[in-house]
């Protein structure tokens, strides 16, 4: 089933394409004890670090002039000294 002549057994798929489908696609089922819809959402929240790094360089949907506001991001970072 994973032989060489098999059209689905192709060259290695780029991770970004794989995650595009496996994390955003696929049917979402309200499951059993372990994972329910809410947990699927949690999974996505847990992936925030990855997703936000993935999305960090997406061209902004607003004019270029506002890009300078990116400097404000620093305000959201917790200060080590503060805690």
């Amino acid at each position: 089933m994973s032989g060489a002549g098999d059209p689905f057994a192709q060259r290695e798929i780029a991770l970004v394409d794989l995650l595009d489908r496996l994390l955003a696609g696929g049917v979402v089922l309200a499951g059993d004890i372990t994972l329910r819809i809410a947990d699927v959402d949690l999974v996505r929240i847990d992936l925030k670090a990855l997703i936000s790094s993935v999305n960090a360089q997406v061209p902004a949907p607003w004019p270029e002039g506002l890009e300078g506001l990116g400097g404000l991001e620093g305000l959201e970072r917790p200060e080590r000294e503060a805690s």
Binding site: M1, F8, I13, L15, V16, A24, V28, T34, L35, L47
Partner: protein, 258 residues
Amino acid sequence: MTDDLRYVYAVCRPLDAPLHADLTGVGGAPPRQLAHDGLVAVVGPVPERDFGREQLHARLEDLDWLAATARAHQSVVAALATVTCPLPLRLGTVFRDDSGVRAMLQDESDRLRRILDRIDGQVEWGVKVWLGAESAAEAAAPQPSGAPESGRDYLRRRRAGNAAREQSAARAEAFARQLHEDLSRYAADARLHPPQSGPLTDAGSGRNVLNSAYLVPRARSEEFLELVGRAEGTLPGLQVEVTGPWAAYSFTDDPEAS
């Protein structure tokens, strides 16, 4: 092991043949078929230490673990796709035991059948359009050679460069829109994904102006690919990339809900 959980890869109609004996899934465990009332869930045992509620959330933060799990998930779905049109589940769908999986097949039976009907005989193709970072702007407006003669000349050149970049971006977007329209007309269904960028994408690929998925009858895939191929090379600086065939990951919403 009694404390193993059940990882579900996909749901499909009953298969004519057994799964390949060498096939392994998440955690190296072989998947098996769990049939219930005319539907089959393809499931594999996974350890609670990785897939319990808290553990899974922690594990998903680990990109290497996530990548290995995603590849294992995909390899099972891809193997299924050679013998049927599987309905793939989202990564990390885990149940406590077999009876939980059966209950799911029972409760979701109508929705699963509707989606299986839609994707029957179809495969998914991914199409991406990339605008090369500099090449497109250069193609649109060749830079004059030599150093600028004055400050005014420098500004004029800069403005021309910006205008050329904006122009090539606008042309790329128009091209992507047109390509998407053409391919959508040919496909049974189409979905737009958010553009790709960031550390996981190839640094040299430029800007992603189209990231879309098309549901295409397996038998017409060749024509579909020809259609994509014809679009390639029609605009300088633009790359058209095809991925697939995929199982229909992007077409798993309920047809009745839309």
